[in-house]
Assembly symmetry: C2
Homo-oligomer: 343 residues x 2
DNA sequence: CTGAAAGCGCTAACAG
DNA sequence: CTGTTAGCGCTTTCAG
């Protein structure tokens, strides 16, 4: 392996000069720089990054911890992170936890051992106090997840108000019997979306009926199953608000199987605007999170920390947008495929 | 930052001994080991991995280059890779290229600069000769992709025979007018699947009609558009074989919009068995790749290379399986949700 | 503008 | 079984 010494020797300069050339230091005579560069080319010299990282004690790599890589919500955020990171000379690597906390703790080691300069967490499985402590010692940002009460730098959405908006849309369409399929209620996110649902009903003087609220686990199957349960009760609802798109689609599948038409018999609204929601039949009305922007914001927050800046504001909440498609009957059936679809 | 010297000093031993304890060397007296370990705990010592990596010239990290993270095919393979990697003390990091060759070349730098011990490529965008040269110098495995003629270690499926099987299934159901929506034909994968389609027809004395073959680009939209084209020709087909599930679903959407029923009017078969294929309406008949196994195999091939073993066999082709669901009418409509769905 | 030299923290001979 | 010590390749003062 050709190293800096070899370059220096052949170029008749010192290793220090080679190093300077490599870092575009201003204090190198043009002729010297040219000579060094040509020798670098000639020898096909590649700096040993391990040595550099060791010496500088930084890697220029940031780690994004994802609970699952096959989820368009995460990939959307990651795109924003990558965009912003590359602008600032950082490389993004992903650590997949497969929704396993153990793996999450394992990846944190990379941070502690300085193998990555900073970390963005796209989940909230780890112990809150642990995360808090970690964030005091290392550059860390929570995206989507947000720990109530803890001042850990984070970027999230307002689950409550965006759910409220979604449900209000249904109310405005004339629905009064609206069911809700929640996510697991141990997650703040699920509770937030549930809360928004209740607020919308209450603000419109609609009674919240417990029977109409069923807890799913964010999977398609749970949406399907909870929908069957909901449709088995005496006074069936005319609309469903599911806490995510997967469950919304499961619910629609169940409704169809029971012989109901969506949206004419039952209107459905989801949450997340996953890639498939526009392709589903019927195309799903859903709440879109500003994923790219969340990624950017997270990365910026992380950069500030890595630069040692004091964070004036460390918790950001971004706006969601309700995407009205066919599943809620809120707009006339029109030609599909007229919006940009992501795969 | 507490370092080995600090531990050594407090434990009254040399740094060498601390290092030995850290590496479970047998040649340390139990008492000494205990003492060192307790001091490590007491000081909350974390070895500086950058130093270790630099010194040992290895990172124990392998990099998986993915063209897109929101693709269940890739995530399936990655799971297999991770499973096998962790068994052998390696950590897996993902590099997302967003289907951009530039990014791919950029990630290769990590390998060249020794920031990762090996690399698994889940794509084939880079120049074949470049990959070949790279693989001669560094541990490298191609998964799914496979470069015709080049002896780069790879794990793939037989696109030709698995497509042939899929199309033969349609033929066995009585179809003789079978259309094919291909992927971009500059990819060997697309050509392979196309070839399998033709072989199936020819082996059954069915004429291959050019009009029935349309080139898509693996997106849902292209499946939709090509299907519209296909259904516009005079003698419309009774079955469609799409080169992937996304296009198959797009085709089904088009068929539905044209007033055709799937599968009674038109049977559809896809390829990949992506997560959504079982949830689609109708559930999609498709070719499942042995993703997990492919991941395992790739990682094993990589491990052999990293251990400097000579590869006796470097190219592996694994078997696919045809999953018969509702979209081809090949089995009676039955209760859904009876198979394990992945999200 | 350039060179000499001192390490960064750890590992691995080698010597005891 | 344990300690001493020489670097790994690079960056970065400090002199010149």
């Amino acid at each position: 392996m050709v190293k800096m010494r070899d370059v220096a020797k052949l170029a008749n300069v010192s290793v220090a000069t080679v190093s300077r050339v490599l870092h575009n230091s201003e204090t190198v005579r043009e002729a010297t720089r040219k000579k060094v560069l040509s020798v670098i080319e000639q020898l096909n010299y590649q700096p040993n990054m391990l040595a550099r990282q060791f010496r500088r004690n930084e890697t220029k790599i940031i780690l994004v911890v994802v609970p699952s890589i096959m989820n368009t919500v995460f990939s959307g955020i990651i795109e924003g992170i990558e965009y912003e990171a590359s602008k600032h000379g950082y490389r993004v690597l992903l650590g997949n936890t497969n929704r396993n906390v153990e793996n999450e703790y394992g990846l944190v080691e990379l941070l502690k051992q300085k193998q990555t300069d900073g970390m963005i967490l796209l989940s909230e499985r780890m112990d809150a106090d642990y995360i808090k402590a970690l964030s005091e010692e290392y550059p860390l940002v929570l995206a989507t997840a947000y720990i109530e009460g803890l001042k850990v730098p984070s970027v999230s959405i307002d689950n409550v108000s965006s759910s409220r908006d979604a449900v209000e849309h249904l109310i405005n369409l004339g629905h009064r019997e609206i069911a809700h399929i929640t996510g697991p209620l141990q997650f703040a996110m699920s509770r937030g979306r549930y809360k928004g649902y209740k607020q919308a009903l209450m603000q419109n003087n609609i009674e919240v009926r417990n029977m109409l609220v069923q807890e799913g686990d964010y999977t398609f199957e749970s949406g399907y199953n909870q929908m069957l349960k909901i449709m088995a009760i005496e006074k069936t609802p005319t609309a469903i608000f599911a806490a995510n798109d997967d469950m919304a689609m499961g619910a629609i599948k169940a409704a169809k199987e029971l012989g109901h038409n969506v949206p004419t018999d039952i209107a459905v609204v989801g949450f997340d605007n996953i890639g498939f929601s526009s392709r589903f039949d019927p195309a799903l009305t859903t709440v879109a999170q500003p994923l790219f922007e969340m990624g950017q914001k997270s990365m910026n927050l992380l950069l500030l920390q890595m630069q040692g800046e004091p964070l004036v504001k460390s918790q950001y909440v971004l706006e969601c947008e309700l995407i009205v498609r066919d599943s809620c009957g809120g707009k006339k059936k029109e030609k599909v495929l007229n919006e940009k679809l992501t795969t």
